[in-house]
């Protein structure tokens, strides 16, 4: 069953075509990698999927409860509420807020009390805030961040900031999760821990995951399928084994000289 269907999406900035007719498809429950050399358009594609940029042409459909939702042209908050959440390559936490508050903000769409209860702190406010806080702490436990819930996000070590970004994205209750270089800047031990967490949350939350990553050992070990992007175009897709031996992929990464040598 397809959950995310991207068809021929194009985005140009002036004369530069960052993403050119890129198409990709995610089946429900899959863990798919998106790789490509620097400047290939991977993050731009993420920004198109999450509504930060609007595609010049092409369609993006998300299927939820067998209903098709067209995502192109929607504002980022609508896309998030439709069930597509993301993390950022250059961590974008709410730095001056606590770990708990970061997660609480992402849970905002679950809030049912209106403005009057928030001015007066009526019982409906107190009951729901308690629920939200409990849910947030449960979520933080998966990342071993529950005992740091009152710490400011900016004071967390780098690896934990990356974990908190994933926790915050999960708090929006997504069906598809986009991870933009989750292992960037991590040492092998931290990467191993991250791999374990990605596997765990995928099981627990019934997620479909698309991840951009430069750490090939991570991509090859956990992704079931891989898309390769170069100059904004999808140049290859397939299982890790197929990608490893694909000529065009090797060219894109190592340059054409490989052929002549």
């Amino acid at each position: 069953m397809t959950i995310l269907d991207v068809k021929k999406v194009t985005k140009s900035f002036g004369g530069l075509t960052a993403v050119a007719k890129a198409s990709l498809k995610l089946e429900k429950g899959e863990l798919v990698g998106l790789i490509g050399p620097n400047g290939a358009g991977k993050t731009t594609l993420f920004n198109l999927l999450t509504g930060i940029y609007t595609p010049d042409s092409g369609t993006i459909s998300l299927y939820r409860d067998s209903q098709e939702i067209m995502l192109q042209g929607l504002r980022p908050n609508k896309i998030c509420n439709a069930g597509l959440a993301r993390t950022f390559q250059n961590i974008r936490l709410f730095k001056d807020l606590t770990v708990l508050e970061n997660v609480l903000i992402a849970m905002h769409k679950n809030v049912k009390y209106g403005f009057i209860p928030s001015f007066l702190h009526l019982p409906s406010y107190k009951r729901q805030e308690e629920e939200l806080i409990n849910d947030s702490i449960e979520l933080l436990k998966i990342f071993n961040l529950d005992d740091k819930k009152d710490e400011l996000a900016k004071n967390l070590p780098y690896g934990e900031q990356r974990h908190l970004e994933i926790a915050r994205a999960l708090a929006t209750n997504p069906s598809v999760l986009l991870l933009d270089e989750p292992a960037a800047g991590m040492n092998p031990a931290e990467t191993a821990e991250l791999t374990r967490i990605i596997k765990e949350i995928r099981q627990k939350f019934d997620l479909t995951i698309l991840l951009i990553e430069h750490d090939m050992s991570l991509v090859m070990s956990i992704c079931e399928r891989i898309y390769v992007l170069d100059y904004g175009m999808v140049i290859a897709s397939g299982t890790p084994e197929e990608i490893r031996s694909n000529k065009r992929v090797i060219e894109a990464y190592l340059g054409e000289e490989v052929n002549n040598a």
Binding site: T50, G51, I52, R75, P76, N77, C80, N81, A85, R86, F88, R92, L93, F94, K95, D96, L97, E101, L104, I105, A106, M107, H108, K109, V111, Y113, F115, P117, S118, F119, L120, H121, Y125, Q128, E129, L132, R168, A169, A171, T172
Partner: protein, 313 residues
């Protein structure tokens, strides 16, 4: 509970001082200015300090509340007329905030500041040219209904309402816009909606402050609500600390006291006042309180540590 006791005590002490004539009229006027400035600063802090939207138009919203309340109480000089005037003024200011906010809040930073500045100038010039508002001469002889009790009620309601709002999920949505607008949107927060909401709540409170001003000082004219008044409010917010409600309160009190004390040096009053502001910004660039809050617990801890020190001596 402790909060209620502290509030009740503050009210009672000042009420007794006023009833026993221990406070002169002059000091009473300062007290009124402080209360009104607290309402203005706390509400602007919601827009600028918590939601991160730089607004230079707060005096414009204040003037709407002032004129509407004045016009209503002049035609219906009873306490009910006054209360209707306050709420009508506040609602009109909120409506204006909504109409102005919807198009301008798509702008960021300095662009928004200039747009709000222009908006408040438009409001001022409308009041300057309308017949019903008596143009540049302004309205005189507005019935005086505001006393310490009303001031205290409106001030406490504003401060508690806004500080409760900040601690709710809707308030956190506003704060997330200040922290990182792109991340907030990506986490499902409707940033335009929450910017407009902060703006509407802020201008509603500014309308209340304007109405109280008109009713206490019984004279208003368009010049009172110009650009300088907006800057005055912003100065209180910045020197108290962006994103600290107790900071705004503290700064409103402190700056009014400095200004009152300096009345004895009329020639160099504004020079010294400005120098005090420069000093605050040099030694506390984040404002008196930064983004922290004073709380009763803090006083409790302070008391405990003093006791333990005494014990050792």
């Amino acid at each position: 509970m402790k909060k209620l006791v502290a509030l009740g005590l503050t009210y009672a002490i000042i009420q007794i001082l006023i009833m026993t004539n221990l406070i002169s009229d002059y000091i009473q006027a300062t007290l009124v200015t402080i209360c009104i400035n607290i309402i203005l600063a706390v509400s602007l802090n919601l827009i600028t300090g918590f939601t991160g939207q730089f607004s230079l138009g707060h005096a414009g919203f204040m003037s709407i509340g002032a004129y509407i309340c004045a016009l209503i109480t002049m035609r219906n000089p009873t306490v009910y007329g006054f209360l209707i005037g306050v709420f009508a003024g506040a609602l009109a200011a909120a409506l204006m905030g909504f109409l102005v906010g919807l198009p301008t809040l798509r702008l960021r930073g300095d662009y928004l500041a200039i747009a709000t500045l222009g908006m408040s100038e438009i409001i001022r010039i409308i009041f300057l040219n309308l017949e019903i508002t008596n143009g540049a001469a302004g309205l005189n002889g507005i019935p005086q209904f505001v006393n310490w009790t009303w001031l205290f009620i409106f001030m406490t309601a504003t401060v508690l309402g806004i500080s409760n709002f900040i601690k709710s999920s809707h308030g956190r949505a506003c704060i997330s816009i200040r922290e990182d607008e792109i991340a907030a949107e990506a986490m499902g927060i409707d940033t335009i909606k929450y910017k407009v909401i902060a703006f509407v709540i802020g201008s509603f409170c500014a309308g209340i402050a304007g109405a109280l001003y008109a009713s206490y000082f019984y004279f208003i004219k368009p010049d009172l609500f110009g650009f300088l008044k907006s800057v005055d409010i912003l100065v209180i917010v910045v020197s108290g600390g962006m994103g600290s409600i107790s900071g705004s309160i503290l700064a409103a009190i402190l700056l009014a006291l400095i200004s009152t004390y300096l009345q004895s040096f009329p020639e160099i009053r504004m020079v010294l006042y400005a120098a005090a502001l420069v000093a605050i910004m040099i030694f506390r660039p984040q404002g008196l309180m930064g983004s922290r809050e004073l709380s009763l617990e803090l006083f409790g801890k302070l008391g405990d540590s003093l006791k333990s020190k005494k014990g050792r001596v």
